[in-house]
C-alpha cells in the first residue's frame, strides 16, 4: 500500500493532508470510504495541492468526511455537491475542486447534475463511492444495488424487471462528456490502481482538460451484514462482475 520510506526516512502512515485531530475517523469498521480517502489524501500530498483545493461532500456517509482533510471543505445538500463545486470553480478557476459523494448523491438525486456537468465538461474532479446501497440512512436500495440484492426497500431482493439494472455511472459520463474528460472505475480491492486513477483524475483537472470522474467500488459490511471475508468476496467478485474496473475515457495526448 503506502510507501513507508520516503527519502530514506520513515514516512508517517497518515497523509499530511489529513486532519489529525479528527482521527480515528468515524466510518464503520470495514468501510470503503476510509480507503478511498486515504488514496485521495496521498494524492493530494504527492501533487502538493492541499492549499489550492476545495473539497465538497454530499449527504450520506460521505458527509462524515466534512472535517476529514486539512483542506477547505463544504458539506452540501444531497446531490448538490457537484453544482456547488462547479459554482466555485467557475467563479475562481485557480481552485482545484473535488466533489465526493455516494451512489445516491451521484446517480439518484444528483444524477441530473452529474450528467450536465459531464455534458458541459466542467473542469472538476468527482469521486464517487459505490457500495450498492444507501448506507447512512440504514441500507435502502441504491441505483447501484445488484439484482437480487436485499436492502431495506428491496426486502425480497432487487427485481431488475421492476427497478432496472445497476446504474453504470462512469459509462454514462464517458458516453456524454466531450474530449478532455477522464473517466475511470477503480476498486478498494486494488488500492494501487485506485490511487493511480485518482491521481490522473486530479492531474486532468490541473491540466484544464475537462471533467474527471472516478467511481470506486467499496464495501459496506454494516448494511451488507457481512463479515470481513464476505465483504471482500462481494467487492472482488460480485461488484467486479457487475461493474467493470478500468479506465473508460482518457484525454487525447496533445502533441507538443
Amino acid at each position: 500500500m503506502q510507501d513507508f520510506k520516503m527519502n530514506d526516512s520513515l514516512a508517517p502512515a497518515m497523509p499530511k493532508s489529513w486532519k489529525v485531530e479528527t482521527k480515528p475517523h468515524k466510518f464503520c469498521p470495514g468501510c470503503g470510504h476510509g480507503i478511498i480517502l486515504k488514496c485521495l489524501g496521498e494524492v493530494i500530498d504527492e501533487l502538493g495541492i492541499q492549499d489550492q483545493m476545495v473539497f465538497g461532500c454530499d449527504i450520506g456517509c460521505s458527509l462524515l468526511s466534512w472535517d476529514f482533510f486539512n483542506v477547505d471543505t463544504v458539506q452540501t445538500h444531497h446531490g448538490r455537491t457537484n453544482p456547488v463545486i462547479i459554482g466555485m470553480k467557475r467563479a475562481n478557476p485557480e481552485l482545484i475542486v473535488v466533489g465526493y459523494m455516494g451512489d445516491g448523491g451521484g446517480y439518484a438525486i444528483g444524477s441530473q447534475h452529474l450528467f450536465n456537468a459531464a455534458c458541459r465538461n466542467e473542469k472538476i474532479t468527482v469521486i464517487l463511492c459505490n457500495n450498492c446501497n444507501y448506507g447512512m440512512t440504514g441500507g435502502q436500495m441504491a441505483p447501484t444495488t445488484l439484482p437480487g440484492m436485499k436492502t431495506e426497500t428491496s426486502p425480497y431482493g432487487r427485481d431488475p424487471i421492476e427497478t432496472g439494472y445497476p446504474t453504470k455511472g462512469p459509462e454514462m459520463v464517458a458516453a456524454v462528456a466531450p474530449e478532455g474528460a477522464y473517466v475511470a472505475r477503480g476498486t478498494t480491492a486494488n488500492v494501487r490502481q485506485l490511487k493511480g486513477f485518482i491521481k490522473k483524475a486530479l492531474e486532468n483537472q490541473m491540466a484544464g482538460n475537462g471533467i474527471s470522474f472516478v467511481e470506486c467500488l467499496a464495501g459496506c459490511p454494516t448494511n451488507w451484514r457481512t463479515n470481513a471475508k464476505q465483504t471482500w468476496e462481494f467487492i472482488e467478485k460480485d461488484q467486479a462482475n457487475a461493474f467493470k474496473v478500468g479506465e473508460l475515457r482518457v484525454p487525447e495526448v496533445k502533441e507538443g
Partner: protein, 238 residues
Amino acid sequence: MANTIKIAIAGEGGQGVQSIAQILAEAAYDEGKNALYIPNFGVEQRGGVSIAFLQISDGQIGAPRFIEADILIPLSPRAVKRTQMHAGKNTIYVYDNSLIAEGEVNDNIVGMQYFDVTPPCPTADEANSDQQGDIVAGETKTCSFTRPGPGVDPADIPEVKKVIAIPANDIAKNELHPRVFNVIVLGAIIAATDVLPLDSIKKALEKNLGSKFTANPKLRDMNYTALERGYNLVKKAM
C-alpha cells in the same frame, strides 16, 4: 394524570439498552398497561451512549420524553455522566458497578443521518443469535463495547432518592454469559419498579426469543437464571 412511571435506561451502544426497553415496553403492553417507548437520538449511536425513555401507565401518557426519571439505570461509566440531568430527588438509581470502561469510541460524530445502527463486529464469524433481529432478515453481530477499567466514579452519582449498585456486567461475563447481561438488567428493573410481575418479562422473553429457546433449551434456563439474578440483587437492596 394516572400513575405514570418514567424509566430511563442508558448504556453503551451494543449493550442492548434498546432491547431491554423494548422488551419492557412490550411486557407492559401485554399486561394491559399503556406504554410509550422512544429511543434516544443524536450522534451518540455508533457505540457511544444509547438512552431509552420508557413510560408505563394505567392512564394516558404525555410527552414522549421527560426530564426527571423515576427510575434511572445507567450501565456504563460514561452513561452515568451523560444521564445526570435525568436524576432528581425522587429518582431510584440503579447502576452497574462492574469494573469496566467503555470502548474508546469518540461518539461526537457530526453528520449521522440515522441512529438505529450499531455497526457489526468486523471480526465476528457468527451472528449474536440472541440479539433482536432487524427488519431485514439478518443477524446483528455486535462487538463488546466495554473493556476492563476503573468502573463508575462514585463522585459522578447524583443526589437521588436511592442508589443501588449491581455488577451486571461482571456477573454476565464471569458467572453466566456475556449475552445475558441485558436480561440481568431487566430483572433488576422489574425489582426496582414493582410495576410489572416478573412473569410478564418471562412471557415477553418467550415471545421474542421463544423459537431460539426451543432450539436450545439451555438458553431459556440461562435467560431465566439471569432474570432472577438481577431481580434478587435489587430486591435485596430495596
